[in-house]
């Protein structure tokens, strides 16, 4: 079914409000953090530049305001659940930014972000369908308990996959914006072929694209601000929640393949969940030529970036362009997956 005028209004507000909030307030937020001494060294710069951090709280506010706009137009539960998931993930991330959490504690706590989805589903049965739609071949049966278990598992997997991809200037903001675009494409295709479809699912996804897209202007090379774990964990958890409520789980998984592979290779190479500060060696190093090189130390974790740099050292700006290219490729595969699921 096609969207109505109010659907389009909600979509426009959902995209515009977070953009305006971030573009208007981020410069002041950067100054505020700097005045408080809340900065981190950019370890991939020769001069060890200090960068303001974390942007997560402002990103969270922007996302909440975008979702609130959707709620005001649609009076739907979907944006409320997105806000709840983002608040839980953002709070865990902020604690990690300020005090630090262990490599095992963080993913364990992130399972809490599944609670709003599962609990709200008990009240509003239409929040999600407890089945997974596969490309070409149909869907699974409806299994409430198994689906709830999968939701609990999805939150730490998704949030930590996004968190582990947050290492270079503009990396997480560009990746999240591209992945969110894949989600939007999937939900649009689903809505187009579904006879009765609530377009609030699409509108609720738009802030997840608008927030990282506008944040990219401050986070890109050379970064003026880092998002911190409060930003990356919130992005990952919100991404999973929107994929579940949009019914586009497989397409979301495909779009996130670069992040999933990155975290998988890290976990395998360091043999468990280890905080990056406690890893024995760094995956990359800054050479005398000013370019990033893949580390050949035996204890260095295998990361997506290290794999990109194998045999072809490059500057940080080109490295992030490479990651954007891989994210765009995965996004294309995700859109093909959505077409195979809903249109063919």
């Amino acid at each position: 079914m096609l969207p109505s005028a109010s659907d389009l209004l909600a979509a426009a507000l959902a995209f515009a409000v977070p953009c305006v909030v971030i573009l208007a307030i981020m410069p002041r937020w950067i100054d505020f953090l700097r005045s408080k001494g809340s900065t981190a060294s950019d370890v991939h710069k020769a001069l060890g530049t200090k960068v303001a951090t974390p942007a997560g709280p402002l990103l969270l506010v922007a996302l909440v305001l975008g979702e609130s706009a959707v709620f005001l137009v649609h009076e739907s539960t979907i944006p409320v659940v997105v806000i709840e998931v983002a608040l839980v993930a953002g709070a865990i991330g902020l604690y990690d930014d300020l005090r630090g959490l262990g490599g095992v504690v963080k993913p364990a706590l992130m399972t809490l972000a599944a609670a709003p989805l599962i609990l709200e589903q008990q009240v509003h049965q239409s929040l999600y369908t407890a089945q997974i739609y596969f490309p070409f071949f149909g869907s699974t049966g409806t299994h409430y308990i198994i689906f709830a278990i999968l939701i609990v598992a999805a939150m730490p997997v998704s949030s930590n996959a996004f968190n582990m991809l947050d290492s270079f200037n503009g990396e997480i903001s560009s990746f999240t914006a591209i992945a969110a675009f894949a989600l939007i494409a999937g939900i649009v295709m689903r809505g187009y072929v579904t006879p009765v479809f609530n377009w609030d699912r699409l509108a609720a996804t738009l802030p997840l694209a608008a927030v990282p897209l506008s944040f990219y202007f401050y986070n890109r090379f050379p970064s003026r601000i880092f998002d911190g774990d409060s930003g990356s964990l919130m992005f990952g958890a919100t991404y999973a929640a929107l994929a579940i409520m949009g019914g586009v789980e497989i397409a979301a998984l495909v779009a996130a393949i670069p992040a999933v592979l990155n975290s998988y290779y890290i976990i395998v190479s360091v043999k468990g969940f280890v905080e990056h500060k406690k890893m024995g060696a760094r995956p990359t190093y800054l050479g005398d030529d000013g370019k990033l090189h893949a580390s050949d130390q035996p204890g260095a974790p295998t990361t997506l970036v290290r794999m990109i740099l194998l045999g072809s050292p490059m500057g940080e700006k080109d490295l992030v362009k490479s990651i954007i290219a891989l994210a765009a490729f995965a996004c294309l595969l995700s859109i093909i997956t959505s077409a195979m699921t809903w249109l063919i």
Partner: protein, 83 residues
């Protein structure tokens, strides 16, 4: 920007995607008809379905592990996640 240096990683992502699609087919066409839905099925068919589904996950992980090893060796014999 020249994308040639990314072809190997794009191949890994494409293989990961193809495996997801192929395993989806195996799940729907082979595993799902093995018995009634889990909540009403017998314990044997339930266990068989769960084991086969887990095997699909293990296969995906194993192939990605092999792809990493092949990719890293082809680049310059740098230590991989296996080392």
């Amino acid at each position: 920007m020249n994308l040639r240096h990314l072809y190997g990683l794009m191949a890994i992502i494409a293989v990961a995607w193809l495996l997801i699609v192929a395993e989806s087919y195996f799940f729907i066409a082979v595993i799902r008809p093995l018995g009634p839905p889990l909540h009403v099925g017998g314990i044997l068919s339930t266990i068989l379905k769960l084991v086969l589904t887990a095997a699909l996950g293990v296969l995906w992980v194993a192939v990605m592990f092999a792809m990493d090893t092949l990719y890293s060796r082809s680049k310059r014999g740098t230590p991989t996640s296996a080392s």
